[in-house]
Amino acid sequence: MATHATPRWETFSHGADIGVRGFGPTREQAFEAAALALTGVITDPAQVRPSQRVEIACAGADEELLLYAWLNALITQMALRGMLFSRFEVSIAADALTGAAWGEPIDVARHRPAVEAKGATFTELRVRPGADGEWVAQCVIDV
Protein backbone atom coordinates (compact mmCIF):
# COMPACT_ATOMS: atom_id res chain seq x y z
CA MET A 1 0.00 0.00 0.00
CA ALA A 2 1.18 3.48 -0.79
CA THR A 3 2.40 5.55 2.10
CA HIS A 4 1.20 9.09 2.22
CA ALA A 5 3.71 11.61 3.33
CA THR A 6 2.08 14.25 5.46
CA PRO A 7 -1.49 15.05 6.29
CA ARG A 8 -2.75 18.05 4.33
CA TRP A 9 -5.83 20.20 4.22
CA GLU A 10 -7.84 22.42 1.93
CA THR A 11 -11.02 24.45 1.91
CA PHE A 12 -13.66 24.07 -0.76
CA SER A 13 -16.45 26.29 -2.03
CA HIS A 14 -20.04 25.94 -0.96
CA GLY A 15 -22.59 28.62 -1.80
CA ALA A 16 -22.51 31.28 0.87
CA ASP A 17 -20.23 29.26 3.11
CA ILE A 18 -17.08 27.19 2.95
CA GLY A 19 -16.10 23.55 3.29
CA VAL A 20 -13.12 22.06 5.14
CA ARG A 21 -11.31 18.93 4.01
CA GLY A 22 -8.50 17.06 5.72
CA PHE A 23 -6.42 14.24 4.21
CA GLY A 24 -4.25 11.81 6.13
CA PRO A 25 -2.80 8.32 6.15
CA THR A 26 -5.10 7.48 9.06
CA ARG A 27 -8.62 8.52 9.98
CA GLU A 28 -7.25 10.32 13.02
CA GLN A 29 -4.79 12.32 10.96
CA ALA A 30 -7.52 13.24 8.49
CA PHE A 31 -9.56 14.55 11.46
CA GLU A 32 -6.55 16.57 12.63
CA ALA A 33 -6.03 17.98 9.14
CA ALA A 34 -9.73 18.90 8.85
CA ALA A 35 -9.36 20.84 12.11
CA LEU A 36 -6.43 22.72 10.59
CA ALA A 37 -8.62 23.54 7.59
CA LEU A 38 -11.21 24.91 10.03
CA THR A 39 -8.59 27.31 11.38
CA GLY A 40 -7.72 28.08 7.75
CA VAL A 41 -11.26 29.38 7.22
CA ILE A 42 -10.63 32.00 9.89
CA THR A 43 -6.94 32.82 9.58
CA ASP A 44 -3.57 31.54 8.36
CA PRO A 45 -2.83 28.62 10.73
CA ALA A 46 0.90 29.38 10.49
CA GLN A 47 0.21 32.59 12.39
CA VAL A 48 -1.28 30.74 15.38
CA ARG A 49 1.18 29.77 18.11
CA PRO A 50 0.41 26.39 19.69
CA SER A 51 1.17 27.58 23.20
CA GLN A 52 -1.89 26.48 25.22
CA ARG A 53 -3.36 23.00 25.27
CA VAL A 54 -7.12 22.38 25.49
CA GLU A 55 -8.52 18.89 26.06
CA ILE A 56 -11.41 17.85 23.86
CA ALA A 57 -13.73 14.86 24.10
CA CYS A 58 -16.80 14.12 22.02
CA ALA A 59 -18.87 11.24 20.69
CA GLY A 60 -20.79 10.37 17.55
CA ALA A 61 -22.83 7.35 16.48
CA ASP A 62 -20.71 6.90 13.33
CA GLU A 63 -17.46 8.26 11.87
CA GLU A 64 -19.18 11.12 10.12
CA LEU A 65 -21.13 12.21 13.17
CA LEU A 66 -17.88 11.97 15.08
CA LEU A 67 -16.16 14.38 12.67
CA TYR A 68 -19.17 16.68 12.94
CA ALA A 69 -18.96 16.54 16.76
CA TRP A 70 -15.16 17.12 16.71
CA LEU A 71 -15.38 20.22 14.53
CA ASN A 72 -18.31 21.57 16.53
CA ALA A 73 -16.41 20.96 19.78
CA LEU A 74 -13.51 22.98 18.36
CA ILE A 75 -15.84 25.80 17.25
CA THR A 76 -17.37 25.90 20.71
CA GLN A 77 -13.93 25.92 22.39
CA MET A 78 -12.70 28.69 20.08
CA ALA A 79 -15.75 30.77 20.97
CA LEU A 80 -15.77 30.03 24.70
CA ARG A 81 -12.06 30.70 25.15
CA GLY A 82 -11.57 33.33 22.46
CA MET A 83 -8.78 31.16 21.02
CA LEU A 84 -7.52 29.89 17.68
CA PHE A 85 -5.84 26.49 17.33
CA SER A 86 -3.03 25.29 15.10
CA ARG A 87 -2.03 21.85 16.38
CA PHE A 88 -4.30 18.91 17.02
CA GLU A 89 -4.16 15.39 18.34
CA VAL A 90 -6.97 12.89 17.91
CA SER A 91 -7.51 9.34 19.07
CA ILE A 92 -10.67 7.44 18.30
CA ALA A 93 -12.01 4.42 20.11
CA ALA A 94 -15.39 3.11 18.92
CA ASP A 95 -17.79 6.09 18.93
CA ALA A 96 -15.67 8.30 21.20
CA LEU A 97 -12.98 10.78 20.36
CA THR A 98 -10.45 12.09 22.83
CA GLY A 99 -8.01 14.68 21.74
CA ALA A 100 -6.39 18.01 22.28
CA ALA A 101 -5.94 21.28 20.49
CA TRP A 102 -3.06 23.70 20.95
CA GLY A 103 -3.39 27.37 20.22
CA GLU A 104 -3.44 30.86 21.65
CA PRO A 105 -5.90 33.69 22.40
CA ILE A 106 -7.09 35.55 19.31
CA ASP A 107 -4.93 38.56 18.56
CA VAL A 108 -7.04 40.57 16.16
CA ALA A 109 -4.11 42.65 14.89
CA ARG A 110 -1.87 39.66 14.18
CA HIS A 111 -4.40 37.00 13.16
CA ARG A 112 -6.69 39.30 11.17
CA PRO A 113 -9.53 36.81 11.48
CA ALA A 114 -11.82 36.74 8.44
CA VAL A 115 -15.10 35.11 9.34
CA GLU A 116 -16.45 33.54 12.47
CA ALA A 117 -17.32 29.84 12.24
CA LYS A 118 -20.89 29.39 13.46
CA GLY A 119 -21.08 25.62 13.32
CA ALA A 120 -20.23 22.43 11.42
CA THR A 121 -23.00 21.06 9.20
CA PHE A 122 -24.05 17.68 7.82
CA THR A 123 -23.66 19.08 4.31
CA GLU A 124 -20.95 17.31 2.28
CA LEU A 125 -20.12 15.46 5.49
CA ARG A 126 -17.86 12.56 4.55
CA VAL A 127 -15.26 10.42 6.26
CA ARG A 128 -13.80 7.67 4.12
CA PRO A 129 -10.61 6.19 2.82
CA GLY A 130 -9.85 6.93 -0.82
CA ALA A 131 -8.95 4.27 -3.39
CA ASP A 132 -5.30 4.75 -2.48
CA GLY A 133 -5.98 4.24 1.22
CA GLU A 134 -5.67 7.93 2.10
CA TRP A 135 -8.42 9.09 4.44
CA VAL A 136 -10.57 12.11 3.68
CA ALA A 137 -12.60 13.93 6.35
CA GLN A 138 -14.75 16.85 5.25
CA CYS A 139 -17.87 18.93 5.81
CA VAL A 140 -19.23 22.42 5.17
CA ILE A 141 -18.91 25.03 7.91
CA ASP A 142 -21.58 27.68 8.38
CA VAL A 143 -19.86 31.05 8.61
Binding site: A16, A114, V140
Partner: protein, 478 residues
Protein backbone atom coordinates in the same frame (compact mmCIF):
# COMPACT_ATOMS: atom_id res chain seq x y z
CA UNK B 1 -32.27 12.96 -10.55
CA UNK B 2 -31.53 16.41 -11.78
CA UNK B 3 -34.28 18.77 -10.63
CA UNK B 4 -34.33 20.53 -14.00
CA UNK B 5 -35.96 17.50 -15.62
CA UNK B 6 -39.18 17.96 -13.72
CA UNK B 7 -39.96 21.64 -13.36
CA UNK B 8 -43.26 23.15 -14.41
CA UNK B 9 -43.75 26.82 -15.12
CA UNK B 10 -46.87 28.10 -13.35
CA UNK B 11 -46.58 31.77 -14.30
CA UNK B 12 -44.11 34.42 -15.33
CA UNK B 13 -42.56 34.36 -11.86
CA UNK B 14 -43.53 31.00 -10.37
CA UNK B 15 -42.26 27.45 -10.95
CA UNK B 16 -43.50 24.17 -9.56
CA UNK B 17 -41.63 21.03 -8.59
CA UNK B 18 -44.40 18.41 -8.84
CA UNK B 19 -44.83 15.79 -6.14
CA UNK B 20 -42.65 12.76 -6.58
CA UNK B 21 -41.21 10.06 -4.34
CA UNK B 22 -41.64 10.87 -0.67
CA UNK B 23 -42.78 14.45 -1.26
CA UNK B 24 -46.01 15.15 0.64
CA UNK B 25 -46.71 18.40 -1.22
CA UNK B 26 -45.31 20.02 -4.38
CA UNK B 27 -42.53 22.57 -4.24
CA UNK B 28 -42.92 26.11 -5.57
CA UNK B 29 -40.14 28.54 -6.38
CA UNK B 30 -40.52 32.22 -7.22
CA UNK B 31 -38.02 33.19 -9.90
CA UNK B 32 -37.66 34.93 -13.22
CA UNK B 33 -36.59 32.95 -16.26
CA UNK B 34 -33.06 34.33 -15.86
CA UNK B 35 -32.80 33.44 -12.17
CA UNK B 36 -34.24 29.98 -12.87
CA UNK B 37 -31.69 29.41 -15.62
CA UNK B 38 -28.96 29.78 -12.99
CA UNK B 39 -30.85 27.55 -10.55
CA UNK B 40 -31.86 24.65 -12.78
CA UNK B 41 -29.10 22.31 -11.70
CA UNK B 42 -28.54 23.83 -8.29
CA UNK B 43 -28.79 21.55 -5.24
CA UNK B 44 -31.10 24.14 -3.65
CA UNK B 45 -34.00 22.84 -5.76
CA UNK B 46 -33.39 19.34 -4.34
CA UNK B 47 -33.57 20.96 -0.92
CA UNK B 48 -37.02 22.39 -1.76
CA UNK B 49 -38.09 18.83 -2.57
CA UNK B 50 -36.52 17.42 0.59
CA UNK B 51 -38.40 19.90 2.78
CA UNK B 52 -41.62 18.71 1.10
CA UNK B 53 -41.08 15.23 2.61
CA UNK B 54 -41.32 16.43 6.22
CA UNK B 55 -44.40 15.38 8.22
CA UNK B 56 -47.29 17.80 8.53
CA UNK B 57 -46.18 20.18 5.77
CA UNK B 58 -49.05 22.29 4.46
CA UNK B 59 -49.60 23.67 0.96
CA UNK B 60 -46.23 23.88 -0.74
CA UNK B 61 -42.56 23.75 0.11
CA UNK B 62 -41.77 27.31 -0.98
CA UNK B 63 -38.69 29.22 -2.02
CA UNK B 64 -38.15 32.90 -2.68
CA UNK B 65 -36.15 34.24 -5.67
CA UNK B 66 -33.02 34.70 -3.53
CA UNK B 67 -32.94 30.92 -3.00
CA UNK B 68 -29.52 29.34 -2.63
CA UNK B 69 -27.98 26.20 -1.24
CA UNK B 70 -28.37 26.02 2.53
CA UNK B 71 -28.32 23.31 5.20
CA UNK B 72 -31.37 21.11 5.07
CA UNK B 73 -33.71 23.88 4.01
CA UNK B 74 -32.51 26.08 1.17
CA UNK B 75 -31.77 29.70 2.09
CA UNK B 76 -34.88 31.53 0.93
CA UNK B 77 -37.05 28.59 1.99
CA UNK B 78 -40.48 28.92 3.57
CA UNK B 79 -42.53 26.00 4.90
CA UNK B 80 -45.51 25.71 7.24
CA UNK B 81 -46.40 22.67 9.31
CA UNK B 82 -49.62 21.80 11.07
CA UNK B 83 -48.92 20.62 14.64
CA UNK B 84 -52.35 18.96 14.79
CA UNK B 85 -51.32 16.83 11.84
CA UNK B 86 -47.95 15.69 13.22
CA UNK B 87 -46.28 18.83 11.89
CA UNK B 88 -42.64 19.24 12.82
CA UNK B 89 -40.22 21.93 13.86
CA UNK B 90 -36.67 21.71 12.47
CA UNK B 91 -33.55 23.70 13.41
CA UNK B 92 -32.48 23.21 9.78
CA UNK B 93 -35.51 25.29 8.82
CA UNK B 94 -34.34 28.17 10.97
CA UNK B 95 -30.58 28.15 10.54
CA UNK B 96 -27.53 28.72 12.71
CA UNK B 97 -27.98 32.43 13.13
CA UNK B 98 -31.39 32.38 14.77
CA UNK B 99 -33.28 35.63 14.14
CA UNK B 100 -30.57 37.02 11.98
CA UNK B 101 -32.46 40.04 10.72
CA UNK B 102 -32.39 43.65 9.70
CA UNK B 103 -33.51 46.84 11.35
CA UNK B 104 -33.96 50.12 9.50
CA UNK B 105 -33.57 53.48 11.24
CA UNK B 106 -34.71 56.78 9.71
CA UNK B 107 -32.38 59.63 10.59
CA UNK B 108 -33.70 63.17 11.05
CA UNK B 109 -32.40 66.44 12.47
CA UNK B 110 -29.26 66.57 10.33
CA UNK B 111 -28.75 67.41 6.66
CA UNK B 112 -27.79 64.60 4.29
CA UNK B 113 -24.96 66.70 2.88
CA UNK B 114 -23.38 67.06 6.29
CA UNK B 115 -23.61 63.36 7.11
CA UNK B 116 -22.22 62.42 3.70
CA UNK B 117 -19.31 64.84 4.08
CA UNK B 118 -18.38 63.17 7.36
CA UNK B 119 -18.90 59.60 6.12
CA UNK B 120 -15.33 58.44 6.83
CA UNK B 121 -15.33 59.73 10.38
CA UNK B 122 -18.86 58.40 10.89
CA UNK B 123 -17.89 54.92 9.67
CA UNK B 124 -14.86 54.86 11.98
CA UNK B 125 -16.94 56.04 14.95
CA UNK B 126 -19.57 53.36 14.25
CA UNK B 127 -16.95 50.61 13.98
CA UNK B 128 -15.58 51.73 17.33
CA UNK B 129 -19.00 51.92 18.99
CA UNK B 130 -20.29 48.63 17.57
CA UNK B 131 -17.62 45.93 17.89
CA UNK B 132 -17.44 43.89 14.69
CA UNK B 133 -15.63 40.82 13.45
CA UNK B 134 -14.36 37.59 14.96
CA UNK B 135 -12.92 37.68 18.45
CA UNK B 136 -14.40 41.02 19.42
CA UNK B 137 -16.83 41.18 22.30
CA UNK B 138 -18.73 44.21 23.52
CA UNK B 139 -18.36 46.24 26.69
CA UNK B 140 -21.56 44.76 28.13
CA UNK B 141 -20.81 41.54 30.04
CA UNK B 142 -23.88 39.64 31.12
CA UNK B 143 -24.24 37.28 34.05
CA UNK B 144 -26.19 34.04 33.66
CA UNK B 145 -29.39 35.43 35.21
CA UNK B 146 -29.18 38.52 32.97
CA UNK B 147 -28.86 36.31 29.91
CA UNK B 148 -32.05 34.59 31.04
CA UNK B 149 -33.72 38.00 31.25
CA UNK B 150 -32.50 38.86 27.74
CA UNK B 151 -33.79 35.48 26.55
CA UNK B 152 -37.22 36.25 27.96
CA UNK B 153 -37.46 39.97 27.25
CA UNK B 154 -35.71 40.57 23.92
CA UNK B 155 -35.55 44.21 22.82
CA UNK B 156 -37.83 45.08 25.75
CA UNK B 157 -35.05 44.04 28.14
CA UNK B 158 -32.71 46.50 26.44
CA UNK B 159 -35.28 49.32 26.45
CA UNK B 160 -35.99 48.77 30.16
CA UNK B 161 -32.29 49.30 30.80
CA UNK B 162 -32.26 52.61 29.00
CA UNK B 163 -31.03 51.41 25.61
CA UNK B 164 -33.77 53.10 23.61
CA UNK B 165 -37.40 54.01 24.17
CA UNK B 166 -40.67 52.03 24.28
CA UNK B 167 -41.70 53.42 20.88
CA UNK B 168 -38.83 51.39 19.36
CA UNK B 169 -40.65 48.18 20.27
CA UNK B 170 -43.81 49.15 18.40
CA UNK B 171 -41.97 48.83 15.11
CA UNK B 172 -40.42 45.42 15.53
CA UNK B 173 -41.73 42.07 14.33
CA UNK B 174 -43.35 40.46 17.42
CA UNK B 175 -42.84 43.76 19.26
CA UNK B 176 -39.17 42.78 19.61
CA UNK B 177 -39.96 39.85 21.89
CA UNK B 178 -40.77 36.20 21.21
CA UNK B 179 -43.30 35.82 24.02
CA UNK B 180 -43.03 32.01 24.09
CA UNK B 181 -39.28 32.03 24.72
CA UNK B 182 -37.90 29.73 27.38
CA UNK B 183 -34.21 30.11 28.29
CA UNK B 184 -34.37 26.96 30.47
CA UNK B 185 -33.22 24.52 27.74
CA UNK B 186 -30.42 26.86 26.58
CA UNK B 187 -27.06 25.22 27.36
CA UNK B 188 -24.30 26.67 29.52
CA UNK B 189 -22.08 26.81 26.42
CA UNK B 190 -24.62 29.00 24.60
CA UNK B 191 -24.71 31.37 27.54
CA UNK B 192 -20.94 31.59 27.72
CA UNK B 193 -20.72 32.22 23.97
CA UNK B 194 -23.23 35.05 24.30
CA UNK B 195 -22.14 36.70 27.52
CA UNK B 196 -20.19 39.59 25.92
CA UNK B 197 -21.84 39.70 22.49
CA UNK B 198 -24.87 41.96 22.96
CA UNK B 199 -24.33 45.09 20.91
CA UNK B 200 -21.88 43.45 18.49
CA UNK B 201 -22.17 42.95 14.76
CA UNK B 202 -20.38 39.65 14.12
CA UNK B 203 -18.76 38.75 10.83
CA UNK B 204 -19.64 37.34 7.40
CA UNK B 205 -22.48 39.17 5.71
CA UNK B 206 -23.43 41.21 8.77
CA UNK B 207 -23.12 44.96 8.39
CA UNK B 208 -24.07 48.42 9.47
CA UNK B 209 -24.79 50.89 6.67
CA UNK B 210 -25.56 54.58 6.56
CA UNK B 211 -27.63 55.15 3.44
CA UNK B 212 -29.29 57.86 1.41
CA UNK B 213 -32.69 57.51 -0.19
CA UNK B 214 -31.90 57.08 -3.88
CA UNK B 215 -35.32 56.54 -5.33
CA UNK B 216 -38.88 56.66 -4.03
CA UNK B 217 -41.45 54.43 -5.71
CA UNK B 218 -44.21 55.45 -3.31
CA UNK B 219 -43.49 58.82 -1.71
CA UNK B 220 -46.64 58.77 0.36
CA UNK B 221 -45.89 55.38 1.88
CA UNK B 222 -42.26 56.43 2.50
CA UNK B 223 -43.51 59.50 4.35
CA UNK B 224 -45.84 57.33 6.44
CA UNK B 225 -42.87 55.12 7.32
CA UNK B 226 -40.91 58.24 8.29
CA UNK B 227 -38.28 57.65 5.59
CA UNK B 228 -36.84 60.97 4.55
CA UNK B 229 -33.28 61.38 3.28
CA UNK B 230 -30.97 59.28 5.46
CA UNK B 231 -31.36 55.79 6.85
CA UNK B 232 -29.26 53.34 8.82
CA UNK B 233 -29.57 49.61 8.16
CA UNK B 234 -28.41 47.11 10.79
CA UNK B 235 -27.90 43.46 9.83
CA UNK B 236 -27.03 41.12 12.67
CA UNK B 237 -28.47 38.25 14.70
CA UNK B 238 -28.16 36.18 17.84
CA UNK B 239 -24.37 35.76 17.61
CA UNK B 240 -22.70 32.86 19.42
CA UNK B 241 -25.73 32.42 21.68
CA UNK B 242 -27.95 31.44 18.76
CA UNK B 243 -25.25 29.46 16.95
CA UNK B 244 -24.79 27.27 20.00
CA UNK B 245 -28.56 26.78 20.46
CA UNK B 246 -28.65 25.51 16.87
CA UNK B 247 -25.64 23.21 17.39
CA UNK B 248 -27.07 21.80 20.61
CA UNK B 249 -30.49 21.10 19.14
CA UNK B 250 -29.19 19.56 15.92
CA UNK B 251 -27.88 16.83 18.16
CA UNK B 252 -31.15 16.55 20.08
CA UNK B 253 -33.13 16.46 16.84
CA UNK B 254 -30.94 13.73 15.31
CA UNK B 255 -32.06 11.47 18.11
CA UNK B 256 -35.63 12.76 18.05
CA UNK B 257 -36.01 12.08 14.32
CA UNK B 258 -35.10 8.45 14.95
CA UNK B 259 -37.31 8.18 18.01
CA UNK B 260 -40.36 9.55 16.17
CA UNK B 261 -39.66 7.58 12.99
CA UNK B 262 -39.20 10.65 10.80
CA UNK B 263 -37.55 9.62 7.53
CA UNK B 264 -34.95 12.23 6.64
CA UNK B 265 -34.01 12.99 3.06
CA UNK B 266 -31.04 14.92 4.49
CA UNK B 267 -29.66 14.65 8.02
CA UNK B 268 -29.63 18.42 8.30
CA UNK B 269 -33.45 18.32 8.13
CA UNK B 270 -33.62 16.52 11.48
CA UNK B 271 -36.83 17.49 13.24
CA UNK B 272 -39.29 16.58 15.96
CA UNK B 273 -43.06 16.89 16.09
CA UNK B 274 -43.79 20.44 17.21
CA UNK B 275 -45.87 19.22 20.13
CA UNK B 276 -43.25 16.69 21.36
CA UNK B 277 -41.06 17.55 24.38
CA UNK B 278 -38.04 17.95 22.03
CA UNK B 279 -40.01 20.18 19.67
CA UNK B 280 -41.22 22.36 22.50
CA UNK B 281 -37.75 22.57 24.07
CA UNK B 282 -36.27 23.75 20.76
CA UNK B 283 -39.15 26.20 20.21
CA UNK B 284 -38.50 27.71 23.66
CA UNK B 285 -34.72 27.86 23.26
CA UNK B 286 -35.01 29.25 19.73
CA UNK B 287 -37.36 31.93 21.13
CA UNK B 288 -34.69 32.85 23.69
CA UNK B 289 -32.12 33.15 20.87
CA UNK B 290 -34.60 35.25 18.87
CA UNK B 291 -34.84 37.55 21.86
CA UNK B 292 -31.06 37.73 22.14
CA UNK B 293 -31.03 38.93 18.52
CA UNK B 294 -33.80 41.49 19.10
CA UNK B 295 -31.89 42.82 22.13
CA UNK B 296 -28.69 42.86 20.06
CA UNK B 297 -30.22 45.01 17.32
CA UNK B 298 -31.68 47.28 20.03
CA UNK B 299 -28.24 47.72 21.61
CA UNK B 300 -26.69 48.45 18.22
CA UNK B 301 -29.46 51.01 17.61
CA UNK B 302 -28.59 52.70 20.89
CA UNK B 303 -24.88 52.87 19.97
CA UNK B 304 -25.75 54.33 16.55
CA UNK B 305 -27.86 57.01 18.24
CA UNK B 306 -24.99 57.87 20.61
CA UNK B 307 -22.60 58.28 17.67
CA UNK B 308 -25.06 60.44 15.69
CA UNK B 309 -25.72 62.69 18.69
CA UNK B 310 -22.01 63.05 19.40
CA UNK B 311 -21.15 63.92 15.81
CA UNK B 312 -24.17 65.91 14.70
CA UNK B 313 -25.74 67.18 17.92
CA UNK B 314 -28.70 66.13 20.03
CA UNK B 315 -31.19 67.03 17.29
CA UNK B 316 -29.91 64.18 15.13
CA UNK B 317 -32.33 61.35 15.84
CA UNK B 318 -32.75 57.83 14.55
CA UNK B 319 -36.25 56.40 14.68
CA UNK B 320 -36.90 52.67 14.21
CA UNK B 321 -38.77 52.20 10.93
CA UNK B 322 -38.99 48.44 11.32
CA UNK B 323 -37.13 45.34 12.47
CA UNK B 324 -37.65 42.05 10.62
CA UNK B 325 -36.46 38.50 11.28
CA UNK B 326 -34.84 36.39 8.56
CA UNK B 327 -34.26 33.07 10.32
CA UNK B 328 -37.13 31.91 12.52
CA UNK B 329 -39.97 29.47 13.11
CA UNK B 330 -43.19 30.86 14.59
CA UNK B 331 -46.78 29.96 15.27
CA UNK B 332 -48.97 31.96 12.94
CA UNK B 333 -52.58 31.75 11.84
CA UNK B 334 -53.11 31.35 8.10
CA UNK B 335 -56.12 30.56 6.00
CA UNK B 336 -55.53 27.31 4.13
CA UNK B 337 -58.20 25.71 2.00
CA UNK B 338 -60.76 28.23 3.25
CA UNK B 339 -60.12 27.50 6.91
CA UNK B 340 -57.97 29.26 9.53
CA UNK B 341 -55.19 27.03 10.81
CA UNK B 342 -52.53 27.66 13.39
CA UNK B 343 -49.30 26.63 11.72
CA UNK B 344 -45.60 26.56 12.52
CA UNK B 345 -44.11 28.72 9.79
CA UNK B 346 -40.38 28.32 9.11
CA UNK B 347 -38.67 31.18 7.32
CA UNK B 348 -35.02 30.53 6.58
CA UNK B 349 -33.55 33.48 4.79
CA UNK B 350 -37.01 34.87 4.16
CA UNK B 351 -38.95 37.80 5.52
CA UNK B 352 -42.47 38.01 6.89
CA UNK B 353 -44.55 40.22 4.59
CA UNK B 354 -48.04 40.66 6.05
CA UNK B 355 -50.41 42.76 4.00
CA UNK B 356 -52.55 45.81 4.82
CA UNK B 357 -55.03 45.33 7.65
CA UNK B 358 -53.24 42.36 9.23
CA UNK B 359 -53.52 42.61 13.02
CA UNK B 360 -49.81 41.80 13.47
CA UNK B 361 -48.79 44.89 11.48
CA UNK B 362 -48.09 47.87 13.79
CA UNK B 363 -51.00 50.25 14.02
CA UNK B 364 -49.12 53.13 12.41
CA UNK B 365 -48.50 51.01 9.30
CA UNK B 366 -51.62 48.86 9.27
CA UNK B 367 -53.24 50.55 6.32
CA UNK B 368 -50.01 50.16 4.33
CA UNK B 369 -48.88 46.65 5.11
CA UNK B 370 -45.80 45.45 6.93
CA UNK B 371 -42.45 46.97 5.93
CA UNK B 372 -40.18 44.40 4.28
CA UNK B 373 -36.49 45.30 4.31
CA UNK B 374 -34.35 43.71 1.61
CA UNK B 375 -30.63 44.42 1.86
CA UNK B 376 -28.40 44.12 -1.19
CA UNK B 377 -24.61 44.03 -1.26
CA UNK B 378 -22.38 46.74 0.17
CA UNK B 379 -21.59 48.34 -3.18
CA UNK B 380 -25.14 48.64 -4.49
CA UNK B 381 -28.46 49.26 -2.79
CA UNK B 382 -31.18 47.95 -0.49
CA UNK B 383 -34.97 48.12 -0.80
CA UNK B 384 -37.91 48.95 1.39
CA UNK B 385 -41.06 47.10 0.32
CA UNK B 386 -44.49 46.53 1.83
CA UNK B 387 -46.19 43.17 2.32
CA UNK B 388 -49.38 42.33 0.47
CA UNK B 389 -52.57 40.32 0.93
CA UNK B 390 -51.36 38.15 -1.94
CA UNK B 391 -48.27 37.14 0.06
CA UNK B 392 -50.70 36.22 2.83
CA UNK B 393 -52.60 33.98 0.45
CA UNK B 394 -49.69 32.41 -1.44
CA UNK B 395 -46.60 32.29 0.76
CA UNK B 396 -47.84 32.27 4.36
CA UNK B 397 -47.14 36.00 4.30
CA UNK B 398 -43.50 35.70 3.23
CA UNK B 399 -41.11 37.44 0.87
CA UNK B 400 -37.42 37.49 -0.09
CA UNK B 401 -34.65 38.58 2.29
CA UNK B 402 -31.67 39.67 0.21
CA UNK B 403 -29.58 39.27 -2.90
CA UNK B 404 -28.07 35.84 -2.51
CA UNK B 405 -24.45 35.05 -3.35
CA UNK B 406 -23.13 34.62 -6.88
CA UNK B 407 -19.59 33.69 -5.89
CA UNK B 408 -18.40 31.46 -3.08
CA UNK B 409 -16.13 32.98 -0.43
CA UNK B 410 -13.05 31.38 -2.02
CA UNK B 411 -13.98 32.69 -5.47
CA UNK B 412 -14.79 36.14 -4.09
CA UNK B 413 -11.38 36.30 -2.47
CA UNK B 414 -9.76 35.23 -5.72
CA UNK B 415 -11.72 37.95 -7.55
CA UNK B 416 -10.59 40.53 -4.97
CA UNK B 417 -6.91 39.55 -5.22
CA UNK B 418 -4.70 42.48 -6.18
CA UNK B 419 -7.52 44.97 -5.81
CA UNK B 420 -7.92 47.62 -3.15
CA UNK B 421 -11.54 47.14 -2.13
CA UNK B 422 -11.58 50.08 0.23
CA UNK B 423 -10.32 52.36 -2.54
CA UNK B 424 -12.80 50.98 -5.05
CA UNK B 425 -15.64 51.65 -2.64
CA UNK B 426 -14.28 55.15 -1.97
CA UNK B 427 -14.30 55.83 -5.72
CA UNK B 428 -18.01 55.03 -5.63
CA UNK B 429 -18.49 57.49 -2.78
CA UNK B 430 -18.71 54.79 -0.10
CA UNK B 431 -16.54 54.81 3.00
CA UNK B 432 -15.83 51.19 3.96
CA UNK B 433 -14.70 50.34 7.49
CA UNK B 434 -13.97 46.66 7.89
CA UNK B 435 -12.87 44.79 10.98
CA UNK B 436 -11.18 42.31 8.66
CA UNK B 437 -9.77 42.99 5.21
CA UNK B 438 -10.18 39.35 4.21
CA UNK B 439 -13.76 39.45 5.48
CA UNK B 440 -14.45 42.50 3.30
CA UNK B 441 -12.88 40.80 0.28
CA UNK B 442 -15.24 37.87 0.72
CA UNK B 443 -18.15 40.35 0.75
CA UNK B 444 -17.29 42.32 -2.40
CA UNK B 445 -20.16 43.58 -4.46
CA UNK B 446 -19.40 41.20 -7.34
CA UNK B 447 -19.87 38.24 -4.99
CA UNK B 448 -23.60 38.94 -4.87
CA UNK B 449 -26.45 38.84 -7.33
CA UNK B 450 -28.10 42.15 -8.09
CA UNK B 451 -30.81 42.46 -5.43
CA UNK B 452 -32.88 44.47 -7.94
CA UNK B 453 -33.46 41.24 -9.92
CA UNK B 454 -34.76 39.51 -6.80
CA UNK B 455 -36.99 42.44 -5.84
CA UNK B 456 -38.32 42.63 -9.39
CA UNK B 457 -39.61 39.05 -9.07
CA UNK B 458 -41.40 39.51 -5.74
CA UNK B 459 -42.96 42.75 -6.96
CA UNK B 460 -44.14 41.19 -10.23
CA UNK B 461 -45.41 38.15 -8.32
CA UNK B 462 -47.40 40.51 -6.11
CA UNK B 463 -45.74 39.38 -2.86
CA UNK B 464 -44.66 42.94 -2.06
CA UNK B 465 -44.81 46.44 -3.44
CA UNK B 466 -41.84 48.80 -3.62
CA UNK B 467 -41.47 51.94 -1.51
CA UNK B 468 -37.85 53.06 -1.69
CA UNK B 469 -34.34 52.21 -2.80
CA UNK B 470 -31.50 53.12 -0.45
CA UNK B 471 -27.83 53.50 -1.41
CA UNK B 472 -25.08 53.23 1.23
CA UNK B 473 -22.37 55.84 1.65
CA UNK B 474 -20.80 54.51 4.86
CA UNK B 475 -20.45 50.76 5.41
CA UNK B 476 -19.18 48.92 8.47
CA UNK B 477 -18.38 45.22 7.96
CA UNK B 478 -17.39 42.57 10.46
Amino acid sequence: MSPSRNLKRVSDTLWELPRQGAMRVPGRVYASEELMAELRDDPSLDQVRNVATLPGIVGYSLAMPDIHWGYGFPIGGVAAFDPEDGGVISPGGVGFDINCGVRLLAVTGVKEKKVREHRGELGRALLEAVPAGTGRGGPLKLKAHELDQVGRGGARWAVERGFGGPEDLLHCEEGGCAAWADPEPVSADARIRGYDQLGTLGSGNHFLEVQAVEELYDAEAAARLGIDAITVLIHTGSRGFGHQVCDDFLETMQKASKAYGIELADRQLCAAPFLSPEGQAYFGAMGAAMNFAFANRQLVTHRVREVLARMFGERAEARVVYDVCHNIAKRETHAVGGRERELVVHRKGATRAFGPGHPMVPEAYRALGQPVLVPGDMGRYSYVLLGTARAGAETFGSCCHGAGRRLSRNKARAAARGRNIKKEMAARGVSLQAASLRGAEEEISDAYKDVADVVDVVVRAGLARPVARLRPFAVVKG
